[in-house]
């Protein structure tokens, strides 16, 4: 599902964000991308969803190849995946359903079909009762659930999450992780970037560590310290 071959990313100011990363994530896997701030987690995810081009190397995501020349149809790549961020990127002046409806409409769904889909998508994250509520009236955890619901509009086989629990308290984090594990059990591939070492210890999933833009091999005993 995802293959990165010797991928590096250097910015015009010569700052290196990623250096010679090679990895493979199979369909149906749940993988944590772990590492401290500035380790390159976000850059790696941004390359995976086509927001940035690698400076060298090759990335294959859902059968589409991204190289340093970029990728022409970024939008078709993004329709094969869902993306969730720490800052939920919701339209704060609209309701829960309007946020989902907006995403459905701009991807070409007819308004009627889109309206029917909203309730179904919200029920998958347990927010069917809050359809008409303003985003501002929701808790941080609920807002993140709306963001996850929006990421599900294309029925993605791949879900990329960049620190989705970074702003949440322990209970909300558990709720959100519950949704992610539920989606994983239904077959969705999940790439979850986090710096929270306590969180990753609680799940039996593969962990890819990054440090200063490089992939580092860490034994189970070293995991906690490497992630800090």
């Amino acid at each position: 599902m995802i293959q990165m071959n010797h991928v590096s990313k250097t910015y015009p100011n010569q700052a290196s964000a990623l250096s010679d990363i090679t990895l493979e994530i199979s369909s149906g896997e749940f993988v944590f991308i772990a590492g401290p701030n500035g380790s390159g987690k976000t850059t790696l995810l941004r390359i995976l969803f086509g927001a940035e081009r690698p400076s060298s190397g090759e990335v294959v995501v859902n059968g589409m190849t991204i190289t340093e020349r970029g990728f022409n149809k970024v939008y078709s790549l993004r329709r094969t995946m869902g993306i969730v961020f720490q800052d939920v990127k919701l339209l704060k002046d609209r309701t829960v359903s309007e946020n989902i409806l907006f995403a459905l409409e701009v991807t070409g769904r007819s308004r009627k079909k889109a309206k029917n889909s909203v309730s179904e998508i919200l029920s998958r994250v347990g927010l069917q009762e809050r359809e008409g509520d303003s985003i501002l009236s929701l808790s941080a955890g609920e807002q993140q659930r709306v963001a996850i619901a929006r990421a599900l509009i294309n029925d993605p086989l791949l879900l990329l999450a960049d620190e989705p629990t970074g702003n949440l308290d322990a209970q909300m984090t558990m709720d959100v992780m519950g949704i992610f594990t539920g989606l994983h059990l239904k077959g969705t591939t999940i790439v979850f970037a986090t710096r929270d070492t306590d969180l990753i210890q609680g799940y039996p999933y593969r962990i890819i560590y990054l440090s200063e833009g490089r992939r580092v091999d860490v034994t189970k005993d070293q995991e906690v310290s490497a992630g800090e």
Binding site: V74, R78, G108, R111, N154
Partner: protein, 300 residues
């Protein structure tokens, strides 16, 4: 296709409604820019049509030698009419000339008392074809008339004609140069305003791009919004120009109004009004297009 059109229309009007203030600002600035431009066009249009009236009055007067027999006048009339560029020739006898002078002097015609009609020379008033009513081509006609020995003097207000032609030329040149420079400035201002309005919706655009909206779904509503803003801006400019045109007539002193009575001051012709509206739409579209090129990119 139909659902895409429905989407574009709905989204465009949603954008306008949700971002009313930036939209009104953009419409206002397009309106002001086009108002300045169309005011310039209106002045230029009226000056050109005013000068055209003068242009129509350009003619050559050829004075005959005193004592030229009438039978020779007949032949000379024929020959003059055959000259290339001559539209018509009218013979003005000394009596006609005196009658003309009297009519021009009106109540002061007694000034002419004691002047013998015979002192006024007979003349030909030679009307020129339109393409000959300029300083260069009028000379072609005059040089042919000079070959007839029966003419004592030929007048065509050479200096006036040359000044007039130069004035028309400068005016038209200025219109295009200033118009071009002004247009460049307007496009620059408008594209920057669009950049600001699109930036204010960057969050929305980012979400659209994240969920996989195609470039057409992201950009076309912005282009249509630009077209609508341009059309409304153009309409606003025409409305205020019309008001200014009316106010101009109400505010000018009576003495100038009387003087202007003979000179028609027109509003812009419908064709030009249409071009201002189309121009507004093109500006709106171009502004949103230029602004969106950088801001609506999917990747860095």
């Amino acid at each position: 296709m139909i659902s895409f059109l429905q989407y574009v229309i709905r989204r465009t009007f949603q954008n306008i409604r949700r971002n009313l203030f930036p939209n009104l600002t953009t419409i206002g600035i397009i309106g002001i820019s086009l108002l300045i431009f169309s005011t310039f066009a209106l002045i230029s249009f009226n000056l050109t049509s005013f000068l055209k009236i003068w242009e129509d009055k350009i003619e050559v007067i050829a004075y005959l030698k005193k004592g030229t027999p009438l039978r020779e006048v007949e032949g000379l009339l024929k020959k003059s009419r055959q000259i290339e560029g001559v539209e018509g020739v009218t013979y003005v006898s000394p009596f006609d000339a005196m009658a003309f002078l009297e009519s021009r002097l009106g109540k002061q015609k007694n000034l002419l008392q004691g002047i013998q009609t015979v002192v006024l020379p007979p003349s030909f008033e030679i009307q020129l074809k339109k393409e000959y009513r300029n300083s260069i081509r009028i000379k072609e006609v005059v040089s042919q008339l000079k070959q007839f020995p029966e003419f004592e003097e030929i007048q065509y207000g050479q200096e006036w004609v040359e000044t007039f032609s130069a004035l028309v030329h400068i005016l038209r040149l200025t219109q295009w140069i200033l118009g071009g420079l002004f247009l460049g400035g307007i496009i620059f201002i408008i594209s920057n305003i669009f950049r600001l309005t699109i930036s204010s919706r960057q969050e929305e655009v980012e979400i659209m791009q994240l969920v996989g909206a195609s470039p057409a779904f992201v950009r076309v509503p912005f282009y249509v919004e630009g077209l609508i803003q341009g059309l409304l801006g153009g309409g606003l400019a025409i409305f205020f120009l019309y008001l200014l045109h009316k106010i101009f007539f109400l505010q000018i002193p009576l003495s100038i109004q009387t003087w202007l009575a003979g000179i028609p001051i027109h509003f812009l012709p419908p064709g030009t009004v249409l071009w201002v509206l189309i121009g507004g739409m093109v500006l709106g579209f171009f502004g949103s297009f230029v602004a969106s090129m950088k801001l609506l990119r999917y990747s860095e």
